[in-house]
């Protein structure tokens, strides 16, 4: 049985819808749901399974899981987006300079990047977070720094490829400055790769935030984040598995959406790097 192309293409659409919904929830939930709904403790309904009063059940303190997971979206999305933005802000100039200038600059910068890549990203993020003291802001810094070498590496490769294009040669012959060439000729042409990589990084950043918070070295209570909710569920798995399932599914849906969207983007924007679909 052959799967129709239209259906295969719809993967990007499904991904986009998932991502959009999660971002909308992250943006709108705090507007429509009063914050204390997520912290209100219903002592008569602790670890309650899904009921009419609590559609997704409650946690060990009788707090409503639906409101917690909806409000937790804000924290998780905010941390992941800010961390990816940070890695772009540092990695983009690094990669561009390395790829465009080449020679010694490239050698030194890439040696440094390769060394950083020897540290598992999660280990690097955990160490930075432990060093700086775990809180929301330092979680962003930790994930942002840990992801920078990946981005710098990819941007450097793209910049290197584009810098050898005839139109760049032409721009140089026409007497344009290096700065102008980088901004007007190289940057626009590596943007597709940057966008694709950022989408994929965003998926990894959501997973990293969940991992850090799960280990207690990320978001701290009373902020509600998905990783923190899964961590809290550990001691009640026997009696109340939904306390782990609800935030776990939230993470999975978000990351799945980002991956589907990222795959489709790559196929659309970057036909050379086909695959993984």
């Amino acid at each position: 049985m052959r799967i129709p192309a239209a259906f295969r293409r719809s993967k990007g659409l499904i991904g986009a819808i998932l991502v959009l919904s999660v971002f909308l929830v992250a943006l709108l939930a705090p507007v429509f749901i009063p914050e204390d709904w997520a912290t209100q403790m219903d002592m008569r309904a602790r670890l309650s399974p899904p009921t009419w009063a609590h559609p997704l059940g409650t946690d060990q303190l009788g707090r409503d899981l639906m409101y917690r997971v909806l409000l937790g979206a804000q924290t998780s999305i905010y941390i992941a987006s800010a961390a990816v933005l940070m890695s772009i802000v540092i990695g983009l100039p690094l990669g561009l300079i390395s790829g465009y200038v080449g020679r010694t600059t490239d050698n030194v910068l890439m040696r440094l990047v390769d060394t950083l890549l020897s540290f598992p990203a999660l280990l690097l993020a955990l160490t930075i977070s432990a060093v700086l003291g775990p809180n929301l802001q330092n979680t962003i810094i930790a994930i942002g720094i840990a992801f920078t070498p990946f981005l710098a590496r990819i941007i450097r490769g793209e910049a290197l490829r584009v810098a050898q294009m005839p139109y760049v040669e032409g721009a140089r012959t026409a007497g344009n400055s290096d700065f102008r060439i980088i901004v007007h000729h190289i940057l626009p042409n590596i943007m597709p790769a940057v966008i694709v990589q950022s989408t994929i990084s965003l998926a990894f950043a959501i997973l990293a935030e969940a991992g850090l918070s799960f280990l207690g070295l990320g978001t701290q209570p009373p902020d509600a984040s998905w990783g923190l909710m899964i961590q809290a569920s550990r001691d009640y798995l026997d009696r109340a598995p939904w306390t782990a399932l609800v935030p776990g599914v939230a993470v999975a849906v978000t990351v799945l959406g980002l991956n589907m969207f990222g795959d489709a983007l790559r196929d659309a924007l970057d036909p050379r790097a086909k695959g993984g679909s």
Partner: protein, 313 residues
């Protein structure tokens, strides 16, 4: 040969940089080893005395020299939390982790390669859609979520396997395997999904190439075309990705070993980070980064051994 020498020299340089980064990052920690040993409420004079005797007042570069000198000669200092010499402690935990790292890597490779090839052979048909969708879900779930689900199913639900602890294979090989299986699966499922995607992508590219069409036109049977001609060309890229995943694995073991109370390297590193055991953090971060780098070097060398095109160029 000169390739090997070059690689080894560059490895030395990378190791040196790893040590500098590790030392620098851990030295921004507020509070120092003296404070850790004596507690925050201690007598300032005694604290100053201890700082002096530990050499914490020396310039950073001198402290780095002393630390790296110790690392190179096998004197890795003492853990503040475990009150033991670090080198034997790390070595012992490393062995425990090696068990689940190798186990999960084997599970992942054994399942992912055939699955990826199968998906590529049936590209854009239901088999491909099924395998690709499953692996997409696989890469989208955090490993600790896999871990929790496995505990719920196999430990709490069915009661087949223990959900926590580590047993030394030297003491009881059967018990060790039973304790290592769930953490290895939790690590391996995500890895398997990554490798399936990679194998499928690489094989799809290869199966569309000219020489495959020629092989088919010669009348070779499909099995030979796919496995001997196709896969032989995919081994290199897939191996490289598997090698890169070693780094990812050594990040994941921190979470998974803590979840399963599996007392290996990841668990040890987590304890060090939680308790700000600076000497232990330095040693374990350095060792993990070195192991990851070594794993990638081995994969690169294997790649050269497997692919004659690289050896010639």
């Amino acid at each position: 040969m000169s390739y090997l020498v070059n690689r080894l020299l560059s490895m030395m340089l990378t190791l040196f940089l790893i040590s500098v980064i590790t030392f620098t990052v851990t030295n921004i920690l507020p509070g120092d080893v003296a404070m850790m040993i004596m507690g925050t409420q201690s007598n300032p004079e005694a604290l100053a005395g201890l700082r002096q005797s530990l050499g914490l007042n020396d310039p950073l570069i001198v402290q780095y020299g002393r630390w790296i000198g110790g690392m190179l000669t096998g004197d890795w200092g003492n853990s503040l939390v475990f009150k033991e010499p670090i080198a034997p402690l790390l070595l012992q935990k490393m062995k425990a982790s090696a068990l689940i790292v190798l186990f999960s890597m084997s599970i992942a490779l054994v399942c992912a390669v055939p699955l990826g090839v199968w998906a590529a052979v049936h590209a854009n048909r239901w088999q491909d859609t099924a395998a690709s969708s499953a692996s997409l879900v696989g890469v989208s779930l955090p490993d600790f979520f896999w871990g929790i689900m496995l505990i719920l199913l196999f430990a709490r639900g069915l009661g087949w396997l223990p959900s926590s602890g580590f047993i030394d294979p030297a003491d009881d090989i059967w018990g060790a395997m039973r304790h290592a299986l769930l953490p290895s699966l939790a690590l391996g499922l995500g890895l398997m999904a990554h490798l399936t995607r990679m194998t499928r992508a690489t094989m799809t590219g290869i199966l569309n190439q000219e020489f495959i069409r020629v092989a088919r036109a010669k009348g070779l049977d499909e099995g030979t075309v796919v496995w001997r001609y196709g896969l032989a060309n995919a081994v290199g890229p897939v191996m490289t990705v598997a090698g890169l995943q070693v780094g990812y694995l050594f990040g994941s073991i921190i979470v998974i070993e803590s979840l399963f109370n599996f007392t290996g390297m990841g668990w040890l590193t987590y304890q060090a980070l939680l308790n700000r055991d600076i000497p232990l953090i330095q040693a374990s971060v350095f060792v993990i980064a070195a192991v990851v780098m070594l794993a990638n070097l081995i994969v690169d060398l294997l790649y050269v051994a497997v692919d004659p095109r690289i050896r010639l160029s």
